[in-house]
Amino acid sequence: MLETINFLLCGVGGQGTILASDVLVNVGLAAGFQAKQAEVHGMSQRGGSVTSHVRWGKVVYSPLIGAGEANVLLAFEKLEALRSLKSMRLGALALVNLQVIEPLTAISGDQAYPSDETLRKAFAQVTSHVEYINGEEIAGSLGNLKVANVVLLGALSALLESGGQAGVGLTPEAWLKVIAERVPPKHIELNRKAFQAGREAVGKK
């Protein structure tokens, strides 16, 4: 097991990255780690990029992850995944949601949104542990696009187990307990399904 595990979450305001990082830091705490979380979301409400740092470890000092030190990248959007690529440690685990949210700079035609090929080629240069997932499609099949973030968390939980990084002693139930504490009671079952669907999407029950 690593001394410290550094999760970098990135996406666009409104995608649920904040809830996801809140879940993640509390799962770390429940698993007996010291855990810290830092939100970098200045003006995210106005459609800007959102980044959140979560760290688990025996002892964690800095709430921020230095560039080049992320062990796990959880990217909610393709362009933001590419933007955060350089913050990753070589060979780190990456889970990339294939959603596209075009920024105004791309809509106006001034700058091109990167192609899927660019994304996959760039990631291949940094790590072989990359998993692509269509969180919106899975969430849509469950009837609520908003649970895409929990789909991603489910997939992440499974990947952590197979990577052996920090899955030690962490059951899906431990994650679901933390999630259940953070969603309205009437949505607990939906979130449970979303979490499970995320796990299955990366080949784990």
């Binding site: 830092a38 921020l64 809509i107 106006s108 990167p114």
Partner: protein, 606 residues
């Protein structure tokens, strides 16, 4: 039990545990959530003040009256409140008085990154700096105890990274000081700062800060963590965490009180190590004070004076200056992603401010802006903000430019909350000294940028109680402005007509554009996406000029012009109809009529 709390939540908890009687603030990132969270505790009094100066005076009033008072603000708020902060230091108070400043290294959402520890030194006031959420909570009580023990205000300095990081906190019990009901003090020698009294108070506060410096020598938050003798690090705040991480072997003296400094402790520490460095964000505040003690120290020759630190910044600075070996370097992935489109914050789809800026852009007038969401109109295609410096600045700047003979008609734009904050005196000046400035008050019925806080114009308080609504139009008329009108924020024609008329006037004029923020929950319920009628759209691009994120370029080209037609993203469109109003070919649908009726009824009933 350990609970994950952000620094702001932790401060709120600390306030509750310490029994703060009155807490007042003006919202400002990164401090806003402190009072929002404090308001959730039972039986507390807390309020949004119109500005930070008022908030500090309110906290002072409570402390004069013998109850713990607190004022909370972002760093630049203390500039607004500086006058009150300085007199509070002169008078002291009957019960604890704590002022929270949330500084913003890296300017995540601010106009500068001033280091407010300077205010502590300037005002002869002690400054406490937590390094995580646990300390943020605990130091609130400590600050009040210090305040009461030494009869002084205390500055509790946070930074964005402390405010917005969640770390584990062990909660404590509520332990309010037993407050005897006593009459308001009649002690003019202490509380009436006429020169004759102030002259006598000045030596008192100079002695007070010397006494606190002695107290600091045994202050438990000034903590020595012995290590290797080759390197000694003086540090504070969140920088302590980076120091601990990057230099695990070093000796560290973590200062929880950064003003006044414990000179003996620092001297002893310096003697115990071979090389002494300071790791502090922003100003060389500790470094310069230590150098003044005659102690050899390095700091800003190694670490940056600008921006926010993180472990990488600290490590790479140390490598570059030879403090750490090259082998400590953490490589970045060597990968070429090509240019990536930026994702700057923009005015939201359905933002009621958009209409005004679309017209101002058309009129090509100089626009003196202010602090709020509307500052985002500076970017293309709206490009209609030409100055923005601080809260309440725009009206005064417009007046000054007009008086200097600027050949164009100046328009100042300011939000409702910012107008209450510091816009009113500036508008009084426009009237009193008569300039032809047109002021547009963008009244979105809320304090928007910081995430929907109540203000004097909303009719509700921070505690959710209904209250008198300060009406803008009568207020502006009462100030003596002759040309005033309120228009609906989405009414393109009315705003254009009014502004065209006003910019020809030789007298002050005020246009109030009223429309609630499109993101408010009750407004969201009324969202109805509009549609582009592809057979009518000829790709004229006019609707692209309002810069709405919901209007996209379709892949379908117009046969004649070969330009892309417009397309509306139904997931973002609120149905504000601004694009529909300006479309010359009626190619964008309006809201269905029956929905408008329902909406009207809704408005009448509330």
């Amino acid at each position: 039990m350990i609970k994950m709390l952000s620094g702001n939540e932790a401060v709120a908890r600390g306030m509750w545990e310490a029994g703060v009687a009155v807490a007042s603030a003006y919202p400002g990132t990164p401090s806003t959530e402190i009072l929002e969270n404090y308001a959730l505790f039972p039986n507390v009094y807390t309020e949004w003040a119109p500005n930070e100066k008022v908030a500090v005076d309110v906290a002072i009033g409570a402390a004069y009256a013998g109850r713990r008072g607190m004022a909370v603000m972002k760093h630049v708020g203390l500039n607004v409140a500086a006058d009150s902060f300085m007199y509070a230091s002169m008078t002291g108070q009957e019960a604890g008085l704590v002022i929270v400043t949330a500084d913003d290294p890296a300017m995540h959402s601010s106009q500068n990154e001033q280091d407010n520890r300077a205010f502590a030194k300037f005002g002869r006031v002690p400054c406490l700096e937590p390094s995580d959420s646990q300390e943020a909570k605990d130091m609130v009580r400590t600050a009040f105890e210090l305040s009461e023990r030494f009869d002084t205000p205390v500055l509790l300095r946070l930074t964005t990274r402390i405010c917005h990081s969640a770390t584990g906190v062990e909660l404590g019990e509520r332990n309010t000081p037993t407050a005897e009901s006593k009459p308001f003090p009649r002690n003019p020698a202490k509380y009436v700062m006429v020169p004759g009294n102030a002259v006598k108070r000045h030596p008192v506060i100079e002695q007070r800060i010397r006494d606190i410096a002695l107290f600091a020598e045994a202050f438990p938050y000034n903590r020595l963590e012995p290590g290797n003798h080759s390197l000694g690090i003086l540090t504070c705040g969140v920088a302590y965490q980076y120091a601990r991480e990057v230099f695990p072997q070093a000796s560290i003296l973590r200062l929880g009180m950064t003003w006044p400094l414990p000179e003996k402790m620092i001297r002893k520490f310096a003697q115990s190590v071979e090389r002494l460095i300071v790791i502090e964000e922003l100003d060389p505040f500790i470094e310069e004070a230590v150098r003044l003690m005659g102690i050899a120290v390095e700091g800003k020759s190694i670490f940056p004076i600008t921006g926010e630190f993180d472990p990488r910044v600290v490590r790479e600075s140390a490598i570059t200056t030879g403090l750490l070996p090259e082998s400590a370097h953490v490589p970045l992935p060597d990968v070429e992603t090509g240019p990536l489109p930026g994702r700057p914050p923009v005015l939201c789809s359905g933002c009621p401010h958009r209409t005004t800026f679309y017209i101002l852009n058309k009129l090509k007038v100089p626009v003196n802006g202010d602090i709020g969401c509307y500052t985002l109109a500076l970017t293309p295609p709206l490009s209609a903000i030409h100055t923005c410096g601080c809260m309440g600045a725009g009206i005064g700047v417009a007046h000054g430019a007009a008086k200097a003979g600027s050949p164009e008609h100046h328009v100042a734009v300011i939000g409702d909350s910012t107008f209450f904050h510091t816009g009113i005196p500036a508008l009084v000046n426009v009237v009193y000294n008569n300039s032809p400035v047109t002021t547009v008050i963008l009244d979105n019925r809320i304090t928007g940028m910081t995430g929907h806080q109540e203000n004097p114009g909303t009719g509700r308080t921070l505690l959710g109680q209904e209250t008198t609504r300060v009406e803008l139009e009568p207020l502006v008329r009462a100030l003596g402005v002759q040309h005033v009108q309120s228009v609906a924020g989405y009414d393109v024609k009315a705003i254009e007509k009014a502004l065209k008329e006003y910019i020809k006037l030789d007298e002050p004029s005020v246009l109030i554009a009223v429309e609630p923020c499109a993101l408010m929950p009750e407004v969201r319920k009324r969202w109805i996406p509009l549609e582009v009628l592809a057979d009518k759209c000829n790709g004229c691009t006019l609707c692209f000029r309002i810069g709405c994120p919901a209007i996209l370029k379709s892949e379908e080209l117009d046969e004649k012009t070969q330009r892309p037609k417009a397309l509306i993203d139904a997931s973002l469109c609120t149905g504000c109809e601004v694009c529909a109003e300006i479309c010359p070919r009626l190619a964008i649908t309006f809201r269905p009529a029956e929905v408008e009726e329902v909406e009207m009824e809704g408005n009448v009933s509330c």
